[in-house]
C-alpha cells in the first residue's frame, strides 16, 4: 500500500480564526505550546535547556516563567533517557512534547523512537497509545557542520508507527504542532533552524493545520514543484523568478510526510505534466524518491510530458565552509535552472 489516505487525521479543529498576527516561526511554535498547555494539564515540555536558557534555538523562550519548571522540564543531556521518559509518560496519561536540540541527536535516542514509541501501539495489539510529540530542528545553513545539519526525515518516514511533519511556514508550524499534540500517536515534528527567525501571518488562537493535507501555495500550468521544509520557500522564490521568464509553476508543500497527501500530489502533477521534486536531504533513498515512485506507479504517469526530476542534497555529510555547505543542498538558482530545463527541453 503505497498510496495513503488523504483524509485529515486530526481531531476536528475549533472554529477557524480569520484573524492573523505576524509572528516568527519560533514564536508560532511557542504560541502553539502555550495554547496546548493552557488547555490540557497533561501536556508538558521536556528537553535539554528548555527552561531558563529558553531552548537551544530559543523556541521555549520564557515559557518557564509563565508555566513553571514542572511542565517546562529541563533535563540532563540524555536524549535516549528523555525519549524513553517521554514514551513512559505518554503511555500513562501524559502528552509530552520532547524537544531534541538538533535532529542529528535523535540518533542518540533512536531505540526509544524506532523500537519503542513507533511500535508499542501495534506490537501490544492496540492496548496502549503513545501520544507524544518529538520536536527537532533539522537542516543545514548555519555552519554547524556534519553532526548538526542533517535532514533525516526519511529515517522516520521509514518507520511504521511514526507520523512525520515538516512545517515550512510560521502558520503551519503552529497549526501542525497543535494537530500533532492532539494526535494519539508519536509525531515527529521536524522544524528547520533557518526558518525559526522567519515571519509570516499566523492564525490567532487555538487553530489547526490538519495532518495529512498538503498545501498548494502557488498554482501554475507549466510544472509542479514539490518541496519540503526550507526548500518550500526556495521553490516559491524560484517560482517568482520563473514567472518573470514566462514559466508558471505550481508549488506543493506536503507538510505531512507521513501520512502523505498523495491525492494532491497526483492531481497537480496531472495538471501540469511535469514534476520537479526538491528536498534538502541527501538524494539516495530520500523522501522524494518515494514521491517519485508514487507518481510513477499511478495513473499520473500517463500525464507526464517529461521524466520525473529530483533535486536533492549531495550524497555527502554537510561540510563546514560556507561555500561548501551552500553547494551541498539545492538553492534557489538550482531550482530555477532545473525547472527551466524541464520546461524548455520537454
Amino acid at each position: 500500500m503505497t498510496i495513503e489516505t488523504t483524509a485529515a487525521q486530526s481531531a476536528a479543529a475549533p472554529a477557524a480564526s480569520a484573524e492573523t498576527a505576524v509572528m516568527t516561526y519560533s514564536e508560532a511554535i511557542r504560541d502553539a505550546m502555550r495554547i496546548a498547555m493552557a488547555k490540557d494539564p497533561a501536556v508538558f515540555i521536556m528537553g535539554e535547556d528548555v527552561g531558563t536558557y529558553g531552548g537551544a534555538f530559543g523556541v521555549t523562550g520564557e515559557l518557564i516563567n509563565e508555566i513553571g519548571p514542572e511542565r517546562i522540564r529541563d533535563t540532563t543531556i540524555s536524549e535516549l533517557g528523555i525519549m524513553g521518559a517521554g514514551v513512559g509518560a505518554a503511555m500513562t496519561g501524559m502528552r509530552p512534547i520532547v524537544e531534541i536540540q538538533f535532529s542529528d541527536f535523535t540518533a542518540q535516542a533512536m531505540d526509544q523512537i524506532a523500537n519503542q514509541a513507533a511500535k508499542i501501539h501495534f506490537m501490544l495489539g492496540g492496548a496502549v497509545n503513545v501520544p507524544m510529540v518529538i520536536r527537532a530542528p533539522g537542516g543545514s545553513g548555519t555552519g554547524a557542520a556534519a553532526q548538526h545539519s542533517q535532514s533525516l526525515e526519511a529515517w522516520f518516514v521509514h518507520i511504521p508507527g511514526l507520523k512525520v511533519v515538516m512545517p515550512a511556514t510560521a502558520d503551519d508550524a503552529k497549526g501542525l504542532l497543535l494537530s500533532a499534540i492532539d494526535d494519539p500517536n508519536p509525531v515527529m515534528v521536524i522544524e528547520h533552524k533557518l526558518l525559526y527567525k522567519t515571519s509570516g501571518d499566523v492564525r490567532v488562537g487555538d487553530i489547526r493545520t490538519p495532518l495529512g493535507v498538503a498545501a498548494v501555495p502557488r498554482e501554475g500550468k507549466d510544472l509542479t514543484i514539490i518541496a519540503t521544509g526550507i526548500e518550500v520557500s526556495r521553490a516559491l522564490e524560484a517560482a517568482e523568478i520563473l514567472a518573470a521568464d514566462g514559466i508558471e509553476a505550481t508549488v506543493v508543500d506536503p507538510r505531512t510526510l507521513k501520512p502523505l497527501d498523495s491525492g494532491t500530489i497526483l492531481r497537480t502533477v496531472k495538471e501540469t505534466g511535469r514534476v520537479l521534486l526538491v528536498q534538502e536531504a541527501v538524494r539516495t533513498l530520500g523522501f522524494m524518491s518515494e514521491v517519485s515512485a508514487i507518481i510513477a506507479e499511478s495513473d499520473a504517469f500517463g500525464y507526464l510530458r517529461a521524466p520525473i526530476k529530483r533535486l536533492a542534497g549531495l550524497d555527502i555529510p554537510i561540510p563546514y565552509a560556507p561555500k561548501l555547505e551552500r553547494a551541498s543542498v539545492p538553492q534557489v538558482e538550482d531550482i530555477v535552472k532545473a525547472a527551466t530545463d524541464l520546461v524548455r527541453e520537454w
Binding site: 511542565r71 540524555s78 528523555i82 503511555m91 500513562t92 501524559m94 526509544q112 519503542q116 492496548a127
Partner: protein, 327 residues
C-alpha cells in the same frame, strides 16, 4: 497494599498466594517449553525458570495500579502482576485472543489493566520508560510507583544509565529492580562489571542500593516494600539487585557452553519454590495439604488455559495496515 508485618510464610493467605504465583510462573513456562519442543509453538522465548521468587516477592509490594516495565524474559513479571495465563498462552500460540492479538508474542506482552507496560525485546528498553511512568505518576499527583524489572545485562546499556540519571535528578517514584541471574546471555555479570555487588553502583547515582537473595520471596518483598514506601513518600528511586539464576539457556539457541553442569546443578539445589514451601511449613502458614492444593489448583488452571487458548481463533491478517496507528 498494606504493609505486611508478619512473615509471608507464616501468613496463610499470603503464603498460599505467593506459592500459587511461583507455581503459575513455573508451570506456565514448562508448558511453553513443552509446546515449543513439540513444534506446537512458533518463534522464540526466554524462560525464567528458577527466578520465580523475584517477581513474586516484588509484586507483593505493589498495588494493582502501580506500573511495571518488563523484559524479554518477562512471563514471570506478567503473571506476578496479575495477568491472565490464558491470554498470555493465546498470545504465544499466535491467537487473536492473545494480549497482543498475535502481533507481539512472548517478548511484547503487556497488560495495562494490571499496570504492566510491557515486556521488551530491547535490553534496558523498559528502564527509561519506567522513569517516564514514574514522572507521569508524580506529575498527575497519584501515589503510583513504577518498578523497572531488568537483568544484569541491562546494566551495560546506555538506556539504563540515562533512565536512572533522570529518575535520580527528579527523585521519581521508581524502583530499578535488577534480576541478576548471573549471565547477560553468555557474559557473566561477575566478569562484566568490576563490582562486588551490582548495588554498589547505586551510590554513584546518588540513590540507595541493596543486594538481596533473589531466590527468597521474603527478602525480595522486604527490599521492594522498603523501596516502594520510599518512592511513594517522595523519597525517590531505589536500586535493588536480586541475585538469582536462570536454569534454562538464554533462549532456544543456547548450548550452555559458558557455564558448567555443576553450576547449574548447584543452583537447582536452591530452587525458590521448595525453599518457600519449607519456610511456609516451618512457619505454619501452610500445611502439606495446602501446598498440594496450590499445586493442583495451578495444574488445573494451566491445563484449562492451554486448552482454551488452543481452541481460540488464529490471529488474523485482515486489519494489519489499519492497526499501526491509533485513532
Amino acid at each position: 497494599m498494606t504493609i505486611i508485618n508478619t512473615p509471608i510464610a507464616a501468613n496463610p493467605e499470603l503464603a498460599a498466594s505467593s506459592l500459587e504465583t511461583m507455581w503459575k510462573i513455573r508451570r506456565f513456562e514448562e508448558a511453553v517449553e513443552d509446546l515449543y519442543g513439540r513444534g506446537l509453538m512458533h518463534g522464540t522465548m526466554h524462560l525464567s525458570i528458577g527466578q520465580e521468587a523475584v517477581p513474586t516477592g516484588a509484586c507483593l509490594a505493589l498495588n494493582r495500579d502501580d506500573y511495571i516495565t518488563s523484559t524479554h524474559r518477562g512471563h514471570g513479571h506478567c503473571i506476578a502482576k496479575g495477568a491472565d495465563m490464558e491470554r498470555m498462552m493465546a498470545e504465544l500460540l499466535a491467537k487473536e485472543t492473545g494480549y497482543c492479538r498475535g502481533r507481539g508474542g512472548s517478548m511484547h506482552i503487556a497488560d495495562t489493566e494490571t499496570g504492566n507496560l510491557g515486556a521488551n525485546g530491547i535490553v534496558a528498553g523498559g528502564v527509561p520508560i519506567a522513569t517516564g511512568a514514574a514522572l507521569s505518576a508524580k506529575m498527575r499527583g497519584t501515589k503510583q510507583v513504577a518498578v523497572s524489572f531488568h537483568g544484569d545485562g541491562a546494566m551495560g546499556e546506555g538506556a539504563w544509565h540515562e533512565g536512572v540519571v533522570l529518575a535520580a535528578m527528579w527523585q521519581l517514584p521508581v524502583v530499578f529492580l535488577c534480576e541478576n541471574n548471573l549471565y547477560g546471555m553468555s557474559m557473566s555479570s561477575e566478569k562484566a562489571f568490576n563490582l562486588e555487588k551490582l548495588s554498589d553502583r547505586a551510590r554513584g547515582y546518588g540513590i540507595p542500593g541493596v543486594t538481596v537473595d533473589g531466590n527468597d520471596v521474603q527478602a525480595v518483598y522486604d527490599a521492594t516494600q522498603e523501596a516502594v514506601d520510599r518512592a511513594r513518600n517522595g523519597g525517590g528511586p531505589t536500586f535493588i539487585e536480586a541475585k538469582t539464576y536462570r536454569w534454562r539457556g538464554h533462549s532456544k539457541s543456547d548450548k550452555n557452553l559458558y557455564r558448567t553442569r555443576d553450576e547449574i546443578d548447584e543452583w537447582r539445589g536452591k530452587d525458590p519454590i521448595p525453599l518457600f514451601e519449607a519456610q511456609a511449613l516451618a512457619a505454619g502458614g501452610l500445611t502439606q495439604a495446602d501446598i498440594d492444593a496450590v499445586r493442583d489448583k495451578v495444574r488445573t488452571e494451566l491445563r484449562s488455559a492451554v486448552q482454551r487458548a488452543n481452541a481460540a481463533p488464529d490471529a488474523t491478517a485482515d486489519d494489519l495496515l489499519s492497526a499501526v496507528y491509533a485513532r
